[in-house]
Symmetry: C3
Subunit: 273 residues, 3 copies
C-alpha cells in the first residue's frame, strides 16, 4: 500500500497551462495562490501548450516534474471541458502532488512512474476550504490555484481532498506502435528552435540497434548531438528528455521540412542501404 | 475620510507593462526592485498589453488586482508619454497600492472600486529615496521599480510619496453606450484563444433580460459556457471577469470572424425571432 | 590582485537563454536550481535571444546585470556548441557571478567592466557537487542550473569551481568602426516595439558633436526622447541603455523601414544640410 503521507509542502508550486502569456490569466492564478500562501515560490513550467492540446501538456508534464524538489505542487490546466462537470484528478508521486482536470492530462505521467497514488477531488470539501463560487470558464483561478495554495499552506492534504481511485481518465492519447524491427510514432511538440519532438522513447529506439529514422522523404541515421551533422543538415537524436527528436543544425527543421505536430515518424532497424 | 495607513507591505509586487517578454526590460525592472528589497515576491501580471494601449492595460488591471492579497504593490507602465513631464499616479484601495503614469491607466479601476485614495507623486521626494537620475525612455526601471522597492521595504508610504488629489487623469477611454433595450460597446482585448472580450459588464447585460448579441453579421443568444454550443460554434457569454465575451468553442473567434480590438459589439433585448 | 572572495550569495539568480518561453526548458532549469537551493529567487532576464545569437545575448547581459544586487548569480545559455566539449566561463564582477558557455557570450560584459575575475570551470569538480550525468543537448538543465544552485546555497564558490584565466573566448562579435567624424555600427537587436537598437555607444556619438544618423535612405538628427518627433515620425536617440536607437514615435521602425538585426547604421558629424 502506498503511503500518501509522504507529502510535505516545500512552498514551491509550478503552473502548466494553455493560457499563453499575453493575458493576465496566469498572473491572477498566482494572486490566488499568494492569497492562500503568501510565501509561495511559483514557477511557470509552461503556458504555451497548444490550445486545448491535452496530449502536448501531458507529454511535457511527464518529462518535467522530476526536476523539482520533494514537496512541490504542480498545477496543470489544459481543459477543453471547463464549465462542464468533469472531476479533478490528484496524483501523488515521489513526494510531489499534481492537480489537473481529470481529462487525461496526467495519464502519461501516471503510466511512467512507480506507484503513483491516484485520487479524485471530492467537491464536498471545497466549502470548508473557502472555495465556493466557481466561474463557468476559469477554474484555474477559482479552483486549481486556491487548492494549490491550501496544500502549500499545509491546511489540507491530498488525502483529505478526495478518495483514492484505481484509475484516472486516460484521455485519447495515441501511443507509438511497435512492430517487428520498427516503431512508428508522431511529432508531439515542436520547440522554439523548430526541433520536432516525438513520442518515441529512447529505450524503444535502442532495442532496434542500428536504425534509420524516416520522416516524409528524409531518411536519417541516429546521431548523438546537433553538432554531429554539418550546419543546416538534418539530425535525428535521442534528446535530453529521452525521446526521438529531428532537428536541423543551426536552423529550424519545422520551417524547412514543412511538418509539425501530428506528423508520423517511423524508425526502422538497419542503417541506410 | 479614508485612512491610507491601512497599507502594510506584504512583499508582493505585480508588474503590468506593454514591454513584451522578448527583451530584458521586465527583467531589469525586477533587478531594481530586488536591489531595494531583496525579499520581494515579484509577479508578472501582464506584459503583452498592446503597445501603448492604455485602455487595454487599464481594463485588465481593474479586473485583476483583487486577486492579490492585502499589502500588494501593483506597478503598471503603459506610457506613450515617457520622457515628457507627465506625473505619476498612486492609488490606494483595499490595502493595496497601485503606481502608474497618470495617463488614464488606473481610471477604470478607480471608477469601479469603493473609496480609493488618489495621490500624485511629489517629485521632490525622489532624491531622499535615492532616485535621482531618470533616463528619458525607461521610467519603469528608473522610477517605478525603485518606488515599488521602497514601498515593499517599508522605507516609504503612499502618504509620504505625494498629496491626495481629488481625481486623476481619466485618459480617453470610451465607455459602453446604454440605450433603451440595448447596449453598445467594443472589443477591448482578444485573448490567447482568440476570444473577443468586450467592455460590456455582465450586470448591464442582465438588465436587458433575454437578449441577442450582435457582432458583424453574427447574432448570438447568451450562453453560460463554451460547451453550450457545438464544436466550432460561436458562443456569447459573460466570462469569468464578468464581461461579455464572444468565443468559438474549440477555435478562435478572432481568426474566423476576422475582427479584433475596437470592433463594435451590440446587445439587444429580445431573443432571436 | 582581485579579491574574488567578495561574492556572498544573495539567493537571487537570473536566467538568460535563447530557449524561448513556449517550451518547459526554462521551467525545468528552475526546478534544478530549486532542488539545490529551495529558497532561491529566480528572475527571467531574457529568453527570447534570437536562436544561437551569442552577440545579442551578450549585448543585453552587459547592459542589464548591473541592475541586480550584490550576490546575484547570472546564468546565460546561448550555446550553438552544446554537446561539444567547449568549456564553461565564470566571471566575477561587482560581487556578482556570471556563468555561461565560453563562446563569447560574456565578452562584451568583460570588456566594459572594471577588474573582472575570469575563470574556467574545472570539470573535475563536478562529481563532488553531484553533477555527474550531462545530456548531450541540454546543459542548461544538467550543468548550469545545478552550478547556480550550488553557488546560491553557498556549497561552492567561484574560486573552487575553476582556476583564474587571463582571458575568455571572445567569440566573433563585430564592434563599431570609428573613423574621422563618423562611426559605423549595426542593429544588434530589435525590441518589442520595433525599435532598432544598435551597438553604437552614447559616448562615441557624443564625441561627434552635432551629427546625423544614417540608416538606409533615412537621415535623422539626434533627439532626446520619442516625443521629440511627431506621431509616426522616425527618431534617433541615445536610449536608456546608453546606445543609439532608431525608433518610430507611436509605431514600429522595424515594420516600416523594413530592416532588422545586422543592418548597418552610420553616424556622421554635422547636421543635415
Amino acid at each position: 500500500m502506498n503511503n500518501p503521507s509522504g507529502f510535505r509542502p516545500s512552498g514551491i508550486v509550478t503552473l502548466t497551462t494553455d493560457f499563453g502569456q499575453r493575458d493576465p490569466f496566469v498572473g491572477v492564478m498566482k494572486g490566488q495562490v499568494l492569497r492562500r500562501h503568501a510565501q509561495a515560490t511559483i514557477v511557470d513550467l509552461m503556458h504555451e501548450v497548444a490550445p486545448q492540446d491535452v496530449d502536448e501538456g501531458g507529454f511535457w508534464l511527464a518529462r518535467s516534474f522530476e526536476n523539482f524538489p520533494s514537496g512541490t505542487v504542480h498545477v496543470a490546466v489544459v481543459d477543453p471541458g471547463v464549465g462542464t462537470s468533469r472531476p479533478v484528478a490528484i496524483v501523488e508521486v515521489n513526494d510531489q502532488v499534481l492537480l489537473a482536470p481529470d481529462n487525461g492530462l496526467l495519464s502519461e505521467l501516471v503510466d511512467r512512474v512507480n506507484r503513483p497514488v491516484l485520487r479524485r477531488l471530492d467537491p464536498g470539501v471545497l466549502p470548508s476550504l473557502g472555495i465556493a463560487r466557481l466561474s463557468a470558464t476559469f477554474h484555474g483561478r477559482d479552483l486549481f490555484a486556491p487548492l494549490a495554495g491550501e496544500l502549500l499552506a499545509g491546511r489540507t492534504t491530498p488525502a483529505r481532498l478526495g478518495p483514492e481511485v484505481p484509475e484516472l481518465n486516460r484521455g485519447r492519447r495515441t501511443e507509438p506502435v511497435v512492430g517487428d524491427g520498427w516503431v512508428e510514432g508522431v511529432v508531439v511538440t515542436v520547440d522554439r528552435f523548430g526541433n520536432l519532438i516525438t513520442n518515441i522513447e529512447g529505450a524503444v529506439v535502442a532495442r532496434l540497434g542500428a536504425c534509420t529514422v524516416v520522416l516524409g522523404s528524409e531518411q536519417l541515421p541516429l546521431s548523438r548531438t546537433y553538432a554531429d551533422v554539418p550546419a543546416n543538415g538534418y539530425v535525428a537524436l535521442i534528446n535530453a528528455f529521452d525521446v526521438l527528436e529531428i532537428a536541423r543544425n543551426g536552423g529550424s527543421a519545422e520551417a524547412t521540412l514543412g511538418v509539425g505536430r501530428g506528423t508520423t515518424v517511423r524508425v526502422e532497424s538497419g542503417g541506410r542501404g
